[in-house]
Amino acid sequence: MAPVKVFGSAMSTNVVRVLVCLEEVGAEYEVVNIDFQAKEHKSPEHVARNPFGQIPAFQDGDLFLFESRAIAKYVARKHKSADADLLREGNLNEAAMVDVWTEVEAHQYNPAISPIVYECLVNPAMKGLPTNQKVVDESLDKLKKVLEVYEARLSKTKYLAGDFVSFADLNHFPYTYYFMATPHALVFDSYPHVKVWWESLMSRPSVKKLSANMPTSWP
């Protein structure tokens, strides 16, 4: 069986969202770089794979997918095993909890943390734009409120969906990894259960392997 293809930069957060699932399930894959600076993501070839001109896009034989969370779910479902049951679809309630915390990442956590990553790292390093401190401060306030909810949750269960690691936890890796490279990493210190949870994610072999290709300091 040919390895699946992931189109996009291996450093990009949403590409990494897919790669971490591929690593967790032990699937063979190939990353096909898309040159953002050269606007390759807007080329006709790429738009044919992702009509919104974004990364990642994905190919498994005849199947083409886009939207990182949909791709990652497909990977988790296809390669589900005794060692890698990230979606818990055999149990109605557990699957629901995985879905809840996956949605929470998308709609509560990500909108609070990603502006900080963009303002502190991406904009200065890749767009030559100064950090908008107002956006950072507002986002930090939002993030702290979100982390309070996470702290309460993780005081009761080891991982977000329950006492088992799941797709929901892994979805937090890419943006949180980069957040830890901003000047605001210490925010997590006020939420001890969150910090322990994050450190346990960082110790996973899949996460360590991908972290090695993700810069911690930016030019």
Binding site: P51, F52, E67, R69, Y74, R77, A95, A96, D99
Partner: protein, 218 residues
């Protein structure tokens, strides 16, 4: 104890859950949450939804939040085919367009709905037309992609109706009922697809709930 949904039916996210309950003909109770008086931030509600939002959902001991997660639970429990989880490729494509709904359609529609409905009717203010215009432009870009897709397939995930289509109903309802309904006239396949969704019995039932005075947010 049967299933309970907490929140006003007029909320797009609550309506998304209600329409799935109707699709599987489930027995459920809709419990009002009075948002203008801040009930969604009350200690009782925060136990159910720690982010202080609607909907919250309860089935026995199980408490869920996030409308798209609740929707999936309801559909699976009810034995629905709207997720196509029996088929790896089909379920993947359903998920693609569910993500598109959240990331591209809802993200543009939500500020438009807030400015055109909530601001004047609930907050007694004037819509910010700059925000509306910016988001209408984003919406049109998304509708171009939808038009291309729906020119090739009857529904978003293929030639079968799925949660990906149904998930658009609440925001489409407000688009049709608001001052910018004519924006879809330029996208004939999108227009026909929306009409098809709105004609479903489950959707008609929930739109009646959304119109009820007790469902309004003011």
């Amino acid at each position: 104890m049967g299933m309970k949904v907490y929140g006003p039916a007029a909320s797009t996210n609550v309506a998304r859950v209600l329409v799935c309950l109707e699709e599987v003909d489930a027995e459920y109770e809709l419990v009002p949450v009075d948002m203008p008086s801040g009930e969604h931030k009350s200690p009782e509600h925060l136990v159910r939804n720690p982010f202080g939002q609607v909907p919250a959902f309860q089935d026995g001991e199980l408490i869920l939040t996030e409308s798209r997660a609740i929707a999936k639970y309801v559909l699976r429990k009810g034995g629905s085919q709207l997720l196509r989880e029996c088929n790896l490729s089909e379920s993947a494509v359903v998920n693609v367009w569910l993500e598109v709904e959240a990331a591209h359609f809802n993200s543009a529609m939500s500020p438009i709905i807030f400015q055109c409905f909530v601001v004047p009717m609930v907050l007694g203010g004037t819509p910010d037309m700059k925000i509306v215009q910016e988001n209408l432009e984003k919406l049109k870009k998304a509708l171009e992609v939808y038009e291309a897709r729906l020119s090739k397939f009857k529904y978003l995930a293929g030639d079968f109706f799925s949660l990906a289509d149904l998930s658009h109903f609440p925001t489409a309802y407000y688009l049709l009922g608001g001052p910018h309904a004519s924006v879809i006239d330029a996208y004939p396949h999108v227009k026909a697809w929306i009409a098809d969704i709105m004609a479903r019995p489950s959707v008609k039932k929930v739109t009646e709930l959304m119109k009820m005075p007790s469902a309004q947010t003011d």
